[in-house]
Amino acid sequence: MWRQAKWDVEILTEIDNSTARGSGPEVPFTHQFKDIELEVPEELARKTEPNIPSLSELEVVRHFIRLSQMSFGVDAGMIPLGSCTMKYNPKILDALALNSEIEFLHPLQDEDTVQGLLEILYTTERWLAEIVGLDKCVFQPPAGSAGEFAGALIIRKYHLDRGEPRDEMLIPDSAHGSNFASAAMAGFKVVKIPTRGDGCVDLDALKAIASNRTAGIMLTNPNTLGIFEKDILEIAEAIHDIGGLLYYDGANLNGIMGIARPGDMGFDIVHLNLHKTFATPHGGGGPGGGVLCVRRDLIDYLPRPILVREGGKLRWDYSCGKCIGMVRAYHGNITSALRTFGYIAMLGPKGLREVAETTIINTNYFIKRVLEKPYYELPYSPEKPRKHEVVLSAKKILNDTGVSAEDISKRLLDHGVHAPTMYFPPIVDEALMIEFTESEPKREIDRFVEILHRIAEEAYRDPSKVKGSPTATSVGRLDLVKANHPKTLAPSTRYVRGEGGSR
């Protein structure tokens, strides 16, 4: 029997300042400058007093410790969110990424003073290039989506530079939403490619759609159904033949790392999500780390600066001939890069492959077990092995009992496991998208199967119980209508108090 902690926790901006009459911690060296005049003329000074209380240190600690106990991370239990690759975040990597040495490094610091750090970054970059089978990588993109955007910009610029601007980007209908959005942000018209009954990109449709307006294609492989795009070499040929480029969404690399490489498949540009495959923690939403890798002939297009070795020293090359510009300030999320260094070093070549191998075994073991009972279905070639993830459908349960994929997800929470990704990809009805990664022990997968079965049985026996879930979490099911309705919208306490309002 699991039960989440529950605490009554005041909202910080609603704490009555009169009961918390502190004045904050000592600020370093304040006493040394007391004699210096403070120049804030009346007309430039802040007038309103923000509702930010001054609490004691203990109150701050308790506030956030309590909130943390009402949160759920991989450290506490399974988070089988498909597409999100919620793997274990090894603690040793915290030691590399979070320390006072790194904290004080300024991004514009003289390169001579950070050769050690740059060596690590460069080494890691080389390793990632080898893993994806391409030639040069940059850490600049702050996340996967930003990598896609940068990649799309490269594709755009590439065609522009060749004097034949192209405006269409092909994306499978099963793709992640960010692919579409990134392509649009880079100025492309998105052309969707249908998925065949076997769960792969419809090659014929693709060939029919591809034209000299086609700038390229954005694909992930294995795709969001967990299925390897077996026609990938033909797809690559088709796209390259019409002069397009292939972009690889690296979010699903965990299913093939060390087994097959995007570069070998014909991809020209790859992004990696360090917070997926390379175990950087997700932080409740971020920050992650993006990496962009390209074939040799596209290096000039990479966002600047890039890291280059010159005369035994490493330095940042800001020169931007053909480059697409800069997708974020400075050099990327360095802490993720450091974690990646440690992750790869600790696993070694065999360990990296083991990640993919165990991931695949976990997925297919689960499929076999969950399908042993006739509740959930596996659309698109159920006999085909999946790779990093699997998408089940709860359509039958919905039809039979009225219990939806969402209800099932909520009920899962009552067992102390996080729900899978729901309703994605959109080509599967009542989708439950499940990814264990290499991190979940067999015992946990077994337990997850049992819970899924138990919930399905409950749906047939007592659907209202499932629909009334969750009850073991710190709060019951939330009113999303109220949350989103313009009349009751409450995105901040200031907003709730009324515009411009302030005590």
Binding site: I256, K410, Y495
Partner: protein, 456 residues
Amino acid sequence: MYHVWIPNSSEELKKDMLRYIGRSFDELIEDIPRELILRRDLEVGFGRPLSEYELIRIYRSYMDKNRKPKIPPFMGGGLCPTYIPQVVRYLASRGEFYTAYTPYQPEINQGILQALFEYQSMMAELYSIDVVNASMYDGSTAVAEAFRLAMRVTRRKAILAPEIMNPFYRRVAETWIEPVGGKIIYYRVDRGGQPDLEDLEDKADRETAAIYLENPTYLGNIVEKPEELKNIAGKTGSLYIVFSEPTSLAIFKPPGEYGADIIVGEGASLGLGLNYGGTTLGILGVRRDQSLIRQLPGKLVGMTTDLKGSERGFTLILQTREQHIRRERATSNITTNAALMAVQAAIYISYLGMSGLRRLAETIARKTRYAIDHIYRRREYMNLAIGARYFYREVPIRFRGDYGTIYRRLVDQGIYPGIRLDPLLKGFSNCGLFCFSDVHSRDDIDLLFESIDKVI
């Protein structure tokens, strides 16, 4: 190969599982074309799995090649060294926070959601604006997204930005808006670091999506009449975007009070550390205006109740703006954001409290003043690069001599002076942008200037 990070990697267990599946591993990957299967080990790492301790020793052997300064760096440009209080570190490292995913299942993640809501609420207080989202990647992308937001809302393409705009932000914003037809027009800034209002009036027109201001400016000075830009924007129906260093708002007038429609910021100074520019927090918010809110990119947390209406709860709201629902018509492609940094900033702010924040800002303002006095006393060979009256945290110094040489000599002595403005901003040759933040003592600042005296 068994690895302690991979529970099921023992050969026996894998065999058991494969037996149950009824296929060999090769059969599980038989849909991968044979020619794609890698028949060799990847050439990565150190050839074998390392133990933690071996990794630490290797890491140290690399990092020991870095050179450490004697005193905290004085490098500015939007990111300055700051001290991260230990509570911030401690609380942000709670596993339930940092190993969580985006709280798509709100019931099991009320803690993170409340923390993000508190971040939003505290930022709203600080900037005096009503809606702040749950984080963007960093200041530069927040600015780029603010520009794109303004373009969508106004259906116009031009942004007016100061010629002394943060040069990194400038490059990022250009990269981001150019593909969708956006362009930035730069307005002049006078010798006192103030926007040239005439030039702005000239340039602002019905094509202007937004007027953008940085206050304090990239060069650290305070803009004295920021409300006048609002007037100009008003006349052309443009939006007014203001970027501010958040700590400055503890003592200086916040953008919301002088008419900003959109506010932007970089939260690194809120207890996040420099991390070689890596661990950043883009702050982005808008006025209480439904069209602005509906076009806001990024995640947003809202307060609600449970279905029974009996208990308060928090959840992600207005998700239809986002890529996973709206796809190519989403307000942005942003997915992973900087949530933990937002939580960390919330912890930092609540630890300092409003009194602490004010004291922090006041001390920084005093240090800035103190540094300026040092400069004045050295009129023969240095001066303020802009003649503004009020500076906060950053100060641009113009040197008589070659700053490149001075810079290098100081670095060699273990004193890291202001960043070189030369390659970054036009018209600022032999200038350095110096930052004076919480970590600098009076002795540190004295030593900086005395060291300059010596190398000059």
